[in-house]
């Protein structure tokens, strides 16, 4: 069984680690690129959103490299993502590929299949082994998330633009190679030291929250490097969702997760009082939270035709007006014109700077 899965930011690091621990041969698809996008959108229904197209492109590239089994998340609820696994399976079948699909939906009555799929991933290993493999993978992701958070602070201040990114990229590969908790810890420590030694300017940067639909937020190729571009403009970014939040929420429900969710619901409530699928509620709640935290603005990212985020987008102007908190929504699809994104980001940052200057005076 040569397993593969779609890309979503650094997700590959955790999944690869866990699956390798369980004794699978793992084929990580090449990072999403122009080619992934071309392949993916060529065989996808046009009005599907970008995640489907990129995922499909990833699968096609992984199959080229010999993958025969695909792991894909499912879901229920208003977001279409839930049935993408099934659609992708049909598309690949129609293209004549013979691959197995393991789609992890919330079981909802089809326990037998669910357990069967889980057993296949477990590769005959006992349950505790499966868990320890997963936890080991999650640990790496957690470390990477932490380093990225620190990285965002450094990026806004670094003198030689790109220093932080180099360190993070290098660390990512070192974490991939790490085979024990001890090694992970060591890598983390060294990375923090390196990050802290990056030459920095002594400035008080503009702070911007980045939120929106999880796939577009987490996958830099898809969002045209929004976070890096903001960093280049000396803006400190705080992402509102990280991969470990998502993994934990979906795999290991915890008290902290539930509490966090309650808080989000509460914050969004005056504007959006119920779940609309995907991350729509989170986007609205984030505006409230980050306005209160004293951030200067928020960038809201969404794939074209994304229903939950369209709802959020139509509500955000009100939140923005009430709290005097500028929000910029950027919509992504398979076009690759980065100039438009940069123009909007730059103008937005100009706006925030001028606004802050005036407030200071």
């Amino acid at each position: 069984m040569r397993v593969t899965f779609p890309h979503m930011g650094n997700l590959w690091l955790g999944l690869k680690t866990a699956l390798r621990e369980l004794g699978h041969e793992v084929i990580v698809p090449p990072k999403p690129s122009k080619r992934t996008l071309t392949l993916g959108s060529q065989y996808s229904p046009e009005f599907a959103c970008l995640p489907l197209k990129i995922n499909l492109g990833c699968f096609l590239e992984a199959i080229e490299k010999g993958a025969d089994t695909i792991i894909m998340a499912g879901g229920v609820g208003p977001c279409r993502f839930g049935y993408y696994g099934a659609v992708q399976k049909r598309i690949l079948e129609d293209l004549g590929y013979n691959v197995d699909f393991l789609i992890f939906d919330p079981p909802q009555g089809r326990w037998k299949e669910f357990i069967n799929d889980l057993k296949r991933v477990g590769n005959g290993k006992p349950v505790y082994k499966i868990f320890s493999a997963l936890l080991f993978g999650i640990k790496k992701l957690e470390v990477m998330d932490e380093l990225e958070k620190l990285g965002h602070k450094i990026k806004a201040r670094e003198i030689n633009k790109g220093d932080t990114m180099h360190i993070l990229e290098k660390t990512l590969h070192r974490l991939d190679d790490a085979s024990s908790y001890k090694e992970i810890k060591k890598t983390k420590k060294e990375a923090i030291e390196e990050l802290l030694s990056v030459p920095r300017k002594n400035i008080d940067p503009i702070r911007v929250a980045v939120t929106g639909e999880i796939f577009v937020v987490l996958e830099p190729f898809v969002n045209m490097e929004v976070e890096n571009e903001l960093g280049k403009m000396d803006v400190e970014v705080e992402r509102t969702l990280y991969i470990t939040d998502w993994v934990k929420e979906h795999l290991v429900p915890s008290l902290r997760g539930i509490r966090k969710h309650k808080l989000l619901e509460e914050m969004a409530k005056p504007y959006l009082s119920h779940f609309v699928g995907g991350d729509g509620q989170l986007s609205v709640a984030s505006a409230v939270i980050y306005a209160r935290k004293g951030f200067q603005g928020m960038v809201h990212l969404m794939p074209f035709t994304c229903m939950p985020e369209i709802i959020a987008q139509s509500i955000l102007p009100r939140v923005s007006k009430d709290l005097s908190f500028p929000v910029l929504t950027l919509v992504f699809d398979e076009h690759t014109g980065k100039a438009g994104v940069l123009t909007r980001l730059e103008a937005f940052v100009d706006l925030l700077r001028r606004k802050r200057e005036v407030v200071k005076v």
């Binding site: 080619r35 103008a347 100009d350 005036v358």
Partner: protein, 320 residues
């Protein structure tokens, strides 16, 4: 005599202007078609603007804006490279410090900029289906055989404007053809088109933003009097078109350059010789890592002036 040069390179048109220290154009502003060849257009624009300038002009700063601002910036040696939203706002404020709303419609982009007390507080640019207004008008004028300059005035002669589907230009065009075949007059169709474009702008670009007067209308399309009147009807108040409405982006870039050079720095401007220099661009895919960035490089006489497009900075060269 001191001057500041501003270059605005858009997808459809290229604008070059030299302003004095009051922000007023010296000589005649240049407004030409980019025709998909920004390098040629920039050089041509620079050569043309020079013709009309006083002999003793000394360029103290240079700024670029528009979608090809980085390319233009490297070519001319700009002191400041800024986005077109900021440039348009700066220019509008210079001519009307009280402005509260800027409507800007160019060849490919339309934008709305909301200002309060001389400060940009909100803006929006067309996203999916409000693009290409200027280009669309061009094409329709050509299809109907009417010079673009007369297109707007024709709309004013209409008795009963026809309703045209304005949601998207593909539908708008087939709807126009349909109305033509039904026998409506050209005037009524053109007037209907103006109203449809305004309706589309207000619902897709301005989308719920509070449009308060004074309203300034700039960009190439502001020359179209039919659209101006359609805006006034839809908004119920006066819409001002500034005298240099078509080159406001370039004026803004010049003003930003002036601001940048206030403390007496030396300008990086390469001079009007830029018009005769030899520029070439090429691109390649970097295979250094899995990002596979597309690197663009611009050379002059075999010397690399700049490269961009890489995530990591490996190829970055900026020659001043």
């Amino acid at each position: 005599m001191k001057g500041y040069i501003g270059v605005d390179v858009g997808s459809v048109t290229t604008k070059v202007v030299v302003i004095d220290e009051e922000g007023n154009p010296l000589g005649k502003p240049v407004y030409i078609r980019t025709q998909g060849q920004p390098i040629r257009a920039i050089q041509q624009g620079i050569a043309m603007v020079k013709e009309d300038l006083p002999r003793n002009i000394e360029i103290r700063g240079a700024g670029t804006t528009g979608s090809a601002r980085y390319l233009a910036g490297v070519m001319i040696g700009a002191d400041v490279i800024r986005n077109e939203i900021t440039a348009h706002a700066v220019a509008a404020l210079r001519f009307n410090p009280d402005v509260n709303t800027i409507i800007e419609i160019g060849g490919q982009d339309s934008k709305i900029i909301i200002l309060r007390n001389g400060l940009v507080v909100d803006f929006a640019m067309n996203t999916v289906c409000a693009a290409g207004t200027g280009s669309f008008l061009d094409r329709q004028a050509e299809r109907l055989g009417i010079p673009i300059e007369e297109f707007g005035a024709l709309a004013l002669k209409a008795k009963t404007p026809v309703r045209i589907a304005g949601r998207c230009t593909v539908f708008a065009e087939s709807d126009m053809i349909h109305k033509q075949q039904m026998g409506f007059s050209v005037e009524d169709i053109v007037a209907g088109l103006c109203e449809a474009l305004v309706r589309n702008y207000l619902s897709n670009v301005a989308k719920g933003k509070k449009i308060l007067p004074p309203i300034v209308f700039q960009g190439g399309v502001a020359a179209n009097i039919g659209i101006k009147y359609a805006f006034q009807r839809a908004l119920g108040c006066e819409v001002l078109v500034p005298p240099y409405h078509h080159v406001m982006g370039a004026i803004g870039a010049g003003l930003l350059a002036m601001e940048e050079m206030r403390d007496g720095k030396r300008s990086r401007f390469r001079g009007f010789e830029v018009a005769e220099m030899n520029f070439e661009t090429s691109s390649f895919e970097c295979k250094g890592c899995s990002n596979r960035c597309e690197i663009v490089e611009i050379k002059s006489n075999g010397r690399i002036l700049a490269r961009w497009g890489d995530r990591c900075g490996k190829w970055e060269v900026v020659e001043r």
